[in-house]
Symmetry: C2
Subunit: 187 residues, 2 copies
């Protein structure tokens, strides 16, 4: 019973994720959220408890609906080259497929334990996907499946996206990613 909601909670969370992906947590005010989300202050606090509550919801939504598809795509790739190209290409389709995670990792994770937990989990999930591709390709020698190398590649993917965002030149990261894949693929 009671008055029905005038907004779609998922839509609001997604819009909040977009905002938090482009500006730091402290750079997004509640006024900004209220303005761009079309939800009134009161409803926002009733639904998410606080600004941080909305942020955490946005981060979890981001991981589940934007990072996970990317992880699946990476895991389904036949080799590293395909994985890297797919990852970077996905960014051209769905801008921000890693951006909130990136922002959370650099800015919030060091000061918010709950964020750190979420970020770590997402990164490890990415690691596993990369590792899957890696073990399928590492057929030249008898090294261990190299989880450390998977972490390195995940870091490289994050770093590439970071650069693309910071320098505002997405084509560069494509070339760099291709070069990285070329050197790691037939290793």
């Amino acid at each position: 019973m009671g008055r029905p909601r005038g907004f779609d909670e998922t839509e609001v969370i997604a819009a909040a994720a977009a905002l938090f992906a482009n500006r730091a947590y402290d750079g997004v005010s509640v006024d900004d959220l209220v303005t761009h989300l079309g939800v009134h202050r009161n409803s926002l606090y009733k639904t998410f408890g606080s600004k941080r509550g909305l942020y955490l919801a946005a981060l979890r939504w981001h991981v589940k609906h934007q990072v996970q598809p990317l992880i699946s795509e990476v895991g389904a790739a036949r080799d590293i080259d395909e994985a890297v190209r797919g990852t970077l290409a996905a960014h051209n389709d769905d801008v921000g497929a890693l951006d909130l995670l990136l922002m959370a990792a650099t800015e919030r994770a060091p000061v918010d334990e709950e964020v750190r937990t979420e970020v770590s989990a997402a990164l490890h999930a990415l690691d596993r996907a990369v590792s899957t591709v890696l073990t399928g390709t590492t057929s030249d020698n008898g090294d261990q499946p190299a989880p450390a190398l998977a972490e390195a590649l995940t870091s490289a993917l994050i770093g590439l996206r970071l650069r693309a965002r910071a320098t505002a030149s997405p084509t560069e990261s494509d070339l760099a990613g291709a070069a990285l894949a070329r050197h790691l693929g037939p290793a």
Copy 2:
């Protein structure tokens, strides 16, 4: 003439850089700066004009005095393995040798053009150093000196540091860096 300063401008800038490296720009208040820097509000504004002015000064100091040494070390390395290990080891000695650049790249560069310029320049300088090491090592095939690969490796270094900060496990990044170097070095 006039009353002499009661603070060392360089010390203040360095302390500000340390603050801005750990928390986002909007997460560091002028009160925080005044408290931790030992400089009074008035002197701060008289010297740097604004909070943003101090931030830019801190960023430039960081690039010149913390990123540059790292670039030099990378450029002097004999191979990629040595470069990567040196970079990550430098972080254990001088914590934050890349942190402000990292923070600036993800958080300020997208919204502050002057920051973006500074970040781009620093990253390209890192690229050149990596490229130098790369051309000295790439002796197996007749590929171009691979500036794209240099960008990829720079991105990987940044990404590794990002992960170490976000997950608060510095040893992991060492292993990952070593694995990356092992796979790229004897390529």
